[in-house]
Amino acid sequence: MSILAKYKGQEVSGVSRIEGPIVVVESPGVVGYDEVVDIYDEEGKIRQGRVLEAGENFAIVEVFSGTTGLSIDNTRVRFQGRPLRISVSSEMLGRIFNGLGDPIDGGPEPLADKYANINGLPINPAARKYPRDYIQTGISTIDGMNTLVMGQKLPIFSGNGLPHDQLAAQIVTQADLGSAVDRPQSQTTEFAVIFAAMGIKHDQAAFFRDTFTKTGALSRVAMFLNLADDPPVERIVTPRLALTLAEYLAFDLGMHVLVIMTDMTSYCEALRQISNIRGEVPSRKGYPGYLYSDLAQVYERTGRIKLSYGSITQIPILTMPNDDITHPVPDLTGYISEGQVVLDRSLFQKGIYPPISVLPSLSRLMKDGIGAGKTRADHSHLAAQLYAAFAHVQEIRALASVIGEEEMSSIDQQYLAFGNQFELGFVRQDHDENRSIEETLRLAWKLLSMLPLEELTRLTADEIDQYFGKF
């Protein structure tokens, strides 16, 4: 059994072509675009799929769990007459499901509170509430320079072998609602967490499960696991299941939901695989032309609405093939998401955790989530000054590698010292080190106090009077 809703429907045979995960059915009768399909193999076992293209006397169906073992003559297909829907309920927290929503933790089927279409519907921009409440993650480079805001989608751009899993787990463990001002008393301060895995390795899944168990978070986590050796096509459904549950928890029940989705690159590859088999015109690197729209349908299911206290905050993780940020997956993601946290291999090799490269990182919603009454009045200028100073460090480092450090002017040497201390004392922190926002800002001022006063042009005179050299 599964949380996917079941219907009766018309059953036909007449499969004429099977290729990869795609099945073409002749004379299916009246079939709707995007309709759910049950496919029965010779032994009568059921697989699920959905209609990609509906013609007068044919239907093209993608089979989520693959077509291995299906034959032309002995396959029967049942069209269900409706798009894919799932049952959602608050009981799903604390449970583990596979990529199609079947429980895999040995527990019973959760009872349904409600059935919902997994594609969701777009939120009317006029019905949204603009996100303004910051989430304290306890990580200085995020809180101080790329503040996460409740209702934001902030992906982690990583590479293979980099510690993005540890970072995501640390964010989940430490996330704190910080300034949330309009929270009713009855509301819990803890996040519900929905974890959607697409094509990740078994030990990665085990790492998350163990971390959530160890920190006691598991009871508020729902995990949807499509692992690397599971059928790729399932991956297209997995994030949609996760987000359908997230919308129910956030907008119907008023909970604050954090959604971790990893690895979006595997998701996009599954899309590409289907597109290629269908013979669609590819755009960049073989990915389909609708990749942007498809990703947007996943990422845009985030935010806050006027009619609910709840929120959905997304932290998608993607591995950049060959660490290339211009690859279509990170590129299109960056155009949809509200910023990005970029991990850097050279920092990682220096032994710095978390290896967050601040210069290409960005939080678009930071400007409205920080400042007086939220974090602190000087936060915005302080962050801008750190960025400007560290950007300058990069230029000086490039120069120092050519002419040698001894040849540099004294101001430049101060910058070099600042840069090193920035990485070792601000970026670097322990896996379980949870810094308060005050601590992060204090560290930032301490760093900037290493530079001559006249270099601090992004800060106001008052701010300098109040904080410069005081830590």
């Binding site: 009246v30 079939v31 709707g32 675009y33 995007d34 990609l52 293209e53 509906a54 007068e56 594609n119 969701g120 519907l121 777009p122 939120i123 009317n124 921009p125 006029a126 019905a127 949204r128 603009y130 934001q152 015109v281 590819p282 755009s283 960049r284 389909p288 032309g289 609708y290 942007y292 729209s293 947007a296 349908q297 845009e300 935010g303 006027k306 940020i325 211009t326 690859h327 279509p328 590129d331 960056g334 949809i336 509200e338 990005q340 210069l359 290409p360 960005l362 915005s380 801008a384 960025y387 400007a388 950007a391 300058h392 120069l399 050519v402 002419i403 040849e407 006249e454 042009t457 106001t460």
Partner: protein, 588 residues
Amino acid sequence: MAIEIGKIIWVNGPVVRVRGSREVRMLEMVEVGEEHLIGEIIGLNEDVMTVQVYEENSGMRPGEPVFGTGMSLSVELGPGLLRSIFDGIQRPLPVMERKEGTFISRGVKLTSLYRGSLWEFTPVIKEGVEVSGGAILGSVPETNALEHFIMVPPTLKGVITWIAPNGQYKLEEPIAKLLTPSGEHDLSMLQHWPVRRPRPFLQRETPNELLITGQRILDTFFPLAKGGAAAIPGGFGAGKTITQHQIAKWSNADIVIYIGCGERGNEMTEVLQEFPDLIDPRNNQPLMERTVLIANTSNMPVAAREASIYTGITIAEYYRDMGYDVALMADSTSRWAEALREISGRLEEMPAEEGYPAYLGARLAEFYERAGKVKTLNHRQGSVSVIGAVSPPGGDFSEPVTQHTRRYIRTFWALDKALASARHFPSVNWLNSYSEYVDTLNDWWTAKTGYDWQELRSQGMEIMNEESRLSQIVQLVGPSALPDEQRLILETARLIKEGFMQQNAMDDVDTFTTIEKQIKMLDVILYFHRRAEKAIQLGVFASALHSLDVVTTIIRMKTQVINRNVSQLDEIRAQIDRELSELEQQYV
């Protein structure tokens, strides 16, 4: 009115094929399926029509009926447009929210403009007068700041046989009768116009007036004229959207049309919630009073994204025809081009570059050519300025959308990822950007400010170009190897970058700079340069300049000197003289 014209035979996402009538026209608006979803005919082949559907259509089946409307995809024009927020096919989103709730459901039929409001109409024309299209019948105060002129539809001409007296009328009530050769027409305040057809005008005029944006690097270095077309290309995070928002907020256009085309939902919500609170400095009215928003976010149906650009520019032309200066922002035209690509792919058309259809360039040209300063049908002067954001994949400007766009615009604001990473905003790269309006705008600048703008601008540009050459040398040998004159150029370039080009949209003072302050700021920096050149000739070391107090004063003048007190900038000149003379005395 909607009659069945055929049955669906094929569904592939938003593209649907229908078999039936041959009596339909290209680009006719149709209602598709039992839910009557809105669509448009984009191809005809014998008795098979290809239709793109503007709403989410999962579950749609072959065999469902399709209905014709006899109309092209059109917008409603009349009082009540301002302050509205529409989706890509001009459905009012706040009304939809009240009726349907938080999520956008399907098959919602709504009129674009609210029919119930009463508008105060004042006639300006007499009975018996012969009029042609565009003639002004009267006016309606649409907002506190703007008179909405009611015009004869462009396609009609004849004799006015009746005009309504002063009074309050609803949108669809007749306010005039027009006798034409084909009979008498009732004219109301409501008009329709097909979005894909440009509205007519008498003639084009030369754009020779600056569209003031209050953004220093744009106005002073790479200006856009009213009626011109500009592009803002930049990778993600380079600041396209903030730049567009800043122009929407502070530009001196009478009307602003902001199209969020395939962009983020939260961004549109930000505009929606912020604009009613922001006050237009020119008339102390909320900025929303002059704004029309069109929001088709990235997860809304892709075909409506394609339509949103046309909906926006048609509304812009309508206000232009009343004699207003309209600024239209489209964020982002790349998403619109991708919508074209997606539809084209589903039609299995032969692709040109990167999967885009071969007609990409032609479509972009059609769009940008609808910008212009014109003499309207009623002999007024109006303009539509178009500012299109472009989102090149990987920030690579050699991709097809950026390249085609460059052929049809005249101001190019190239945003730079490296500048954005260093939080140098606006991240307009001064070496790659250009404006072809510099020559035509010189007289305007001189008349308004009394300064020789073109001369100051080219001096500034010369220093920036020289700096770029010198920094390549510095990267190899370090700054100490340069002679003092050249180190001064680096210092002045730093002042131009940090003191002039960088502008903080979040700062109350810095967010908008008047042109008087802009030109004076540049003049102060260049004065410092000339004065310091003299000091260096007297033997002062360039390295001593860096720690002068006046250098900090110059960098901070953008926030310390408010727009109304530009004369304070003259005091900085005095400070320059004083500190450099002191320095000279130490050396001589």
